[in-house]
C-alpha cells in the first residue's frame, strides 16, 4: 500500500512541479558546516577548480554548524546528501564510512601528498582504508592584545606561573578583563580550555595513546591537573562568565575589552578583520621552564565523497584537486588559521597565522584527546568532556569529580579501561 500511494502521489506531484531542467555538465554538491566559507568557495576555490575542469560544476551548500550533523545524517539516510561531504575527524566520520555513506578513497593518487598522521584522522583504526582527504588542522593557543601587553609592559608567558603573573597584572590594572572565556557554550570550555592546555600535562600523544591502551585513566594526575588550572582561571574571567557565550567571548576580545583569548587558530581570519589593534599569540604555557611543550594541533576538517554519489569519477577528480598543492595554498591563504595538512611547501601571508604555525617548530603536536576511538560508545566521551569542562569552570563539579566521571563513563563501555 505504501508504494502504491507513493506512486500515485508522485505522479500528481510531478505534474505540479513541471519539468526540471537536466544539467548538461556534472554538478557536484558540497556539504559543509562552514557557512562562513561561502564567499571563499564562491570567489576563490570554485573558479580555480572550474577553470581547469570546465565540465564539472561545484555547488557549495553549507549548513549552519549546529545543524550540520543532524541534517547531514538525515540526508544521508534519505539518500539526498551532496556528492562531496565535509568530514569531521576521527569518530565523527568513521561510522559514516562503516555504513557505506562515505566512499573508500584509499587509492586516490592525491593522498600521497599527505603524511600518515594527517590521514589517520580519516582512516580506519588499522590505517588500511582512508575515506577523506585531509583539508586542514587547527592549532590551539592563546591570542592576546599586543597593545594591552605593551601598555602594561607584559611579556608572552612561557610557564604556568608566568601566565598567572600576567593575568594578575592585568587584573590589578583593571582596564581589561584578563581572560575572554565563558562557559555557556560548553564546547568552548572543552576545546579552548581543557584540550588546549591539557597536552602539556599528559604529554600529548603519549597520554592520549595511554588512554586508548587502557594504561592511563582520567583520574590520573595529568588529566585532572588541567581542570585544576581551569579552576584558577575563573578568577580572571569576566563577571557572569557562566552565561557568556562563545560569540560573547569573541566580542569581548575584538572590541578590546579583554586582553587574552584562549583560541583556536580558526579565529585568525575573523579577528584580523574585526580587531582594531595588533595581536600576538603564544602556545599553552608549560609547567616548568624548559619542559617540552605540546600543542593541540587538531586534524579538524577533511573532505570525502558520498558513497552513493551518481558521479564518482567527477567526485574523485575534485578530491584529487583538493589534495593538490594548488588547493593547499589557495585554501590556507584564503582562510588563515586553517592549516593545510599537505606536504606541499608554500608561504603563509598572515602574520598571526605564521605565529601559530611556528608553534609546530618548537612543540609536539597532538589531536584532541577524546576524538579517536574513545568517543565511540555511550556515554559519548567528547559530549561528557564538554559538559564537565563547563561544570568545572562553573565550579559545580570539582576537578577530581570531573576526572572520575569521565573515567566512569569511559570504563562503562570501553574494554581496555575496564580492568
Amino acid at each position: 500500500m505504501k508504494h502504491l500511494l507513493m506512486k500515485t502521489t508522485a505522479g500528481a506531484a510531478l505534474c505540479l512541479l513541471g519539468g526540471t531542467a537536466v544539467a548538461q555538465e556534472v554538478t557536484l554538491t558540497v556539504e559543509s558546516w562552514r557557512s562562513e566559507d561561502q564567499a571563499i568557495w564562491d570567489n576563490t576555490l570554485i573558479p580555480a577548480f572550474e577553470e581547469s575542469h570546465p565540465d564539472i560544476k561545484i555547488d557549495f551548500t553549507p549548513t549552519a554548524p549546529t545543524e550540520y550533523n543532524a541534517a547531514l545524517n538525515a540526508r544521508l539516510e534519505g539518500g539526498t546528501a551532496g556528492d562531496i561531504i565535509t568530514c569531521r575527524s576521527f569518530d565523527g566520520s568513521l561510522p559514516l564510512y562503516n555504513k557505506g555513506q562515505l566512499a573508500d578513497i584509499t587509492d586516490l593518487e592525491g593522498l600521497e601528498n599527505f603524511p600518515d598522521f594527517a590521514k589517520a584522522a580519516w582512516s580506519t583504526d588499522d590505517g588500511a582504508n582512508t575515506f577523506c582527504v585531509p583539508m586542514a588542522s587547527v592549532i590551539h593557543g592563546f591570542i592576546y592584545n599586543r597593545e594591552a601587553f605593551d601598555e602594561l609592559g607584559l611579556e608572552e608567558p612561557e610557564t604556568v606561573d608566568e601566565f598567572f603573573a600576567v593575568l594578575d597584572a592585568i587584573k590589578e590594572d583593571g582596564t581589561y578583563i584578563p581572560l575572554a572565556m565563558g562557559s555557556a557554550d560548553q564546547w568552548e570550555a572543552a576545546t579552548m580550555a581543557y584540550t588546549n592546555i591539557g597536552p602539556n600535562y599528559w604529554k600529548g600523544e603519549e597520554g592520549r595513546q595511554a588512554l586508548i591502551d587502557g594504561e592511563a585513566k582520567f583520574t590520573d594526575e595529568e588529566f585532572v591537573a588541567p581542570y585544576e588550572q581551569m579552576v584558577r582561571w575563573t578568577d580572571y574571567m569576566g563577571s557572569a562568565y557562566q552565561a557568556q557565550s562563545y560569540s560573547d567571548s569573541q566580542n569581548l576580545f575584538t572590541l578590546g575589552r579583554a586582553a587574552i583569548y584562549p583560541a583556536g587558530s580558526w579565529e585568525i581570519s575573523g579577528f584580523t578583520e574585526q580587531a582594531f589593534f595588533e595581536m600576538g599569540a603564544f602556545p599553552p604555557p608549560v609547567q616548568a621552564e624548559g619542559d617540552t611543550c605540546y600543542i593541540s594541533d587538531h586534524t579538524d576538517i577533511g573532505i570525502g565523497m558520498n558513497g552513493n554519489t551518481e558521479h564518482p569519477e567527477a567526485a574523485r577528480e575534485f578530491l584529487n584537486w583538493v589534495a593538490s598543492p594548488e588547493f593547499a595554498e589557495l585554501y590556507t591563504n584564503a582562510l588563515p588559521g586553517f592549516f593545510s595538512l599537505s606536504n606541499a611547501e608554500f608561504e603563509i601571508e598572515n602574520p598571526l597565522a605564521q605565529e601559530f604555525m611556528s608553534f609546530r617548530d618548537n612543540c609536539e603536536s597532538t589531536v584532541r584527546v577524546a576524538s579517536q576511538i574513545l568517543s565511540r560508545g555511550e556515554p559519548n566521551l567528547w559530549n561528557e568532556m564538554w559538559v564537565l569542562s563547563a561544570n568545572v569552570l562553573n565550579e559545580s563539579t570539582s576537578p577530581e569529580e570531573a576526572g572520575q566521571q569521565l573515567q566512569d563513563g569511559l570504563a562503562s563501555w570501553y574494554e581496555p579501561q575496564q580492568n
Partner: protein, 321 residues
C-alpha cells in the same frame, strides 16, 4: 395573478429524476486531507516509532530487539539518568507555565475584557511575540540577558537593583527557569486570546444578574466568570502540556543548544530525542534509540492527555451560554 402563476408553472423545468448522491461526496471531502495527513504525517511517525523496536549494527543494517531499547532507556544508567532528568525538566517547565503563563494570560484577558480604551491595540501588541520565530526570540533574549551586552544588568542597576543580576541562563539553578520565562514571554498571547474569547462569550445578562445580586467586580470574576471559563482553562492546560513536549524544544535548542546546558539542567525530552536521533558534533545519531526516546515522549503525552480527558475534563461542566 392567476395568469402569471400558470405561466410560471408552464415554464417550470421538467423534474429531473436523480438518485441521491449516496456517500461519494463524503469521500471526496475527506480523502484529500486524510491522504496528505496519512502519507506525510502518520506514516512517517509510525515508521519512526517502529524503529524503536530495532537496533542498528555498524554496517547500517538493523536487527530486531523488541523492547530492548526501552529497557536500556529506562534501566541502563547511561540512558536512564538523562531520560529521567529530561522528563523531570519537562515537568518543571510545565509547572512554571502553569503557574506563570496561564495566570498571566488570565490576568491580561480579564483586564482586556473590561474593554479599556485601546484594548484592541494592547491585544494585538501583546500577541506579537507569539508570531516571532524562535530564532529571533532565542537570539534577542540571549543578548538581553548576556553579561557582555549588559542590557538586563543595566536596567536593573538603573532602578537600584543591580545586585540582583546574575547570568541566569548560565547557572544550573536558574537556567531552566530563565528559559521557561522566555517561553512564557513568547507564548502568553495564546492563553490570553483563548481566555479572552471565552470571557467575551459570557452573556452580559449573566453579569448584570450578578451585579444585581450584589457582587462586586472582583467577586463577579471569581464567582461567575471563572467557573464559566473553566473548560477553556482546561483546554489551555492541556495545550500547554502538549506544547511543552513538542514546541518547547525549538526555544531551548535555539537558546541553549542541544545538550541542555549547563550540566543538562535545561535538557528536556525534545533535546534528548533530537541529539540521540540526529547526533551532534562527534556523536553520530542513533535513529533507533532516538525513536525510542520519541516513542516514550509520545506515551508521556498520551498519559497526560488521558489523565486530562478522564480525570479533569469530565468534571468540568460545560454551560450553555
Amino acid at each position: 395573478m392567476t395568469d402569471a402563476t400558470t405561466q410560471m408553472a408552464d415554464r417550470r423545468p421538467t423534474r429531473r429524476r436523480r438518485r441521491r448522491a449516496g456517500t461519494a461526496h463524503i469521500v471526496v471531502f475527506l480523502a484529500p486531507a486524510l491522504l496528505i495527513y496519512t502519507i506525510f504525517s502518520i506514516y512517517p511517525l509510525v515508521e519512526s516509532l517502529r524503529l524503536s523496536l530495532f537496533d542498528g549494527l555498524d554496517d547500517g543494517s538493523a536487527v530486531w530487539t523488541g523492547l530492548g531499547n526501552y529497557a536500556r532507556l529506562l534501566f541502563d544508567s547511561n540512558w536512564s539518568v538523562r531520560f529521567w532528568n529530561a522528563l523531570w525538566n519537562n515537568l518543571i517547565l510545565f509547572f512554571i507555565h502553569m503557574v506563570v503563563q496561564n495566570p498571566l494570560g488570565l490576568l491580561l484577558a480579564a483586564l482586556l475584557s473590561l474593554a479599556p480604551r485601546f484594548g484592541g491595540a494592547y491585544r494585538t501588541l501583546i500577541f506579537v511575540p507569539t508570531l516571532l520565530s524562535v530564532v529571533i526570540v532565542g537570539f534577542v533574549w540571549e543578548l538581553i540577558l548576556s553579561p557582555l551586552w549588559g542590557v538586563a544588568e543595566g536596567m536593573l542597576s538603573a532602578v537600584g537593583l543591580g545586585f540582583l543580576y546574575a547570568p541566569w541562563l548560565g547557572l544550573e539553578d536558574s537556567a531552566l527557569t530563565a528559559v521557561s520565562l522566555i517561553s512564557v514571554w513568547q507564548y502568553v498571547g495564546i492563553p490570553m486570546m483563548l481566555i479572552y474569547a471565552a470571557l467575551l462569550s459570557i452573556p452580559d445578562e449573566l453579569l448584570d444578574a450578578a451585579r444585581v445580586d450584589g457582587l462586586s467586580g472582583w467577586w463577579i470574576f471569581w464567582k461567575v466568570k471563572l467557573p464559566l471559563i473553566l473548560p477553556t482553562l482546561g483546554i489551555v492546560a492541556i495545550l500547554t502540556y502538549i506544547g511543552n513536549f513538542t514546541s518547547a524544544f525549538d526555544l531551548i535548542y535555539s537558546i541553549q543548544g542541544v545538550l541542555g546546558p549547563p550540566d543538562y539542567s535545561t535538557d528536556i525530552m525534545g533535546t534528548l530525542m533530537f541529539r540521540t536521533f540526529f547526533g551532534q558534533q562527534t556523536q553520530i545519531g542513533d535513529i533507533y534509540m532516538g525513536a525510542t526516546v520519541a516513542s516514550m515522549m509520545f506515551f508521556v503525552i498520551l498519559v497526560g492527555v488521558t489523565i486530562y480527558l478522564v480525570g479533569v475534563q469530565r468534571r468540568l461542566t460545560r454551560y450553555e451560554m
